[in-house]
Amino acid sequence: MAMGPPKLELRGVKKSFGSKVVLDGIDLSLDAGKSLVVIGGSGTGKSVMIKSVLGIIRPDAGEIYVDGQNVTRLSGRARERYLRKFGMLFQNAALFDSLTVWENVAFGLIQGHGMRRAKAKQIAIEKLAKVGLGEEVANLSPAELSGGMQKRVGLARAIAAEPEIIFFDEPTTGLDPIMADVINDLIVDTVKAIGVTALSITHDMASARKISDRIAMIYKGKIIWDGPTAEIDNCGNPYVDQFIHGRAEGPIKMEVRG
């Protein structure tokens, strides 16, 4: 696989909202089957980067390649087909509260792939089992679940249609440390089990170390460091150093007004 094009590649992606520059030329590439975690403070453009790849936000400049194909300006039906390669776990799970748990998990199968409901339900229950949830939750509504369980359902939904690339948006935010670790384990297991390519964004260093092969740091809309997870402690980059040790003093100044 090392010889092929990267699974996902961003070249010089820029995005501004009004006069506020959020992405200032992001270059990032990700090989198939690997897990990359992008770390960075709040409001540094992590979510905007992921939403640009998904086409939810249109970048102002730059190119995005998936499997060597330029996908930056896809629209309509072509974009829907392209999005079938992706799964995403949202920060607050973003489950559809008008549907039951199994209908949430099966949503992509039924709507995106046109699968019959009975078959999709069966797959949904299998996927729920993979994230440690029993059949009894399948008919509950998402509002009846705890935050950790909602994240698990979100994970089951993200892997249900067997995507090639999964995005994890702050997978451990808002969870207690034990539940966070359970989610981390589930991410590692599912990613390895189905061999997908994973791109996560987080500011939780424990999670980042656990689920990544490589870590990149984003600061002021640019990637300022990118390397194997094992090397992050000796990277010699003062910004990365400050971030991973969580120090208030250092080159990164907290902008009080965003």
């Binding site: 939810i56 087909r81 999005l83 949202f90 920060q91 607050n92 509260d97 939904r157």
Partner: protein, 257 residues
């Protein structure tokens, strides 16, 4: 200079808003004619928008019809023209008050509900989640509501017309001493096909306005609970104003008899 900057910014905001609404309307309309169609969701929305609006629309139509009869009687009796009460109630309800009262009531009920629901889906990223699951949010969320409102409103107004005329009948026979069968005969004699159809066409337009502005405001809400509240308010206010403005234009241009 600040004053000019303010005017400039307000003008730009205004036209940006118009532009956003226009592109949103266009993508909604093109979603109506292109598959996939979500029939089950359409049926669900017909229930919510149409069927569950029946009590509120029926009650307001009844009282409006009654009040109309009482007021027209007061005016008409000054010229000894009491006999025209049934005909004026008929024209008032079918051409004007049936569609407008139903439109405003449904705007309050449905535009608010749509904006709140879609707005919450926006701020909790459920709309983004739809996109990542290869589902077009416009087709999944907006089209069923839009089509349901355009179908349901004329039906609601047809019912509101009947109930409103019945309200006028009740008020006239009980308080004004009209003979029931004479009142009904007068009503039937002055009934014109175009009175009813013009009201029903208005109703379809109002339904479109209600669903469109409910969805638009919900879709563009941001910033958590407060943003959803703002979206809900502007959905009701803007759809009500637009209904009254559209009513004026439709009456003027199309249905001036």
């Amino acid at each position: 200079m600040n004053f000019f900057a303010f005017i400039g910014r307000a003008t730009i905001d205004f036209f940006a808003q118009i532009g956003r609404l226009a592109t949103f309307t266009w993508s909604a309309i093109s979603g109506v004619v292109r598959p996939p169609f979500y029939w089950a969701l359409l049926a669900q929305q017909l229930m919510r928008i149409g069927y569950f609006s029946l009590p509120v629309v029926g009650l307001t139509a009844f009282f409006t019809g009654g009040v109309l009869a009482l007021q027209i009687y007061i005016g008409a009796s000054r010229y000894g023209a009491e006999a025209f009460v049934p005909a004026v109630v008929l024209v008032g309800i079918t051409r004007e008050l049936g569609p407008v009262i139903a439109g405003l009531m449904v705007a309050g009920r449905v535009a608010a509900a749509i904006a709140a629901e879609i707005g919450t889906m926006r701020v909790t990223e459920q709309i983004d989640a739809l996109t990542t699951l290869s589902t077009n949010p416009i087709k999944y969320l907006v089209v069923p509501r839009l089509v349901a409102a355009v179908i349901a409103m004329p039906i609601l107004v047809a019912i509101a017309d009947s109930i409103g005329i019945f309200g006028g009948y009740v008020a006239s026979t009980h308080s004004l001493g009209f003979n029931g069968s004479v009142y009904l005969k007068n009503t039937m004699d002055s009934l014109k096909y175009s009175d009813v159809t013009s009201g029903l066409i208005k109703a379809a337009v109002f339904g479109f306005i209600i669903a469109l502005l409910g969805c638009y405001n919900g879709f563009h809400s941001r910033g958590g609970a407060r943003g959803v509240g703002t979206a809900t308010t502007s959905a009701v206010v803007s759809s009500s104003i637009l209904i009254l403005a559209a009513n004026f234009i439709l009456t003027n241009v199309l249905f001036s008899d």
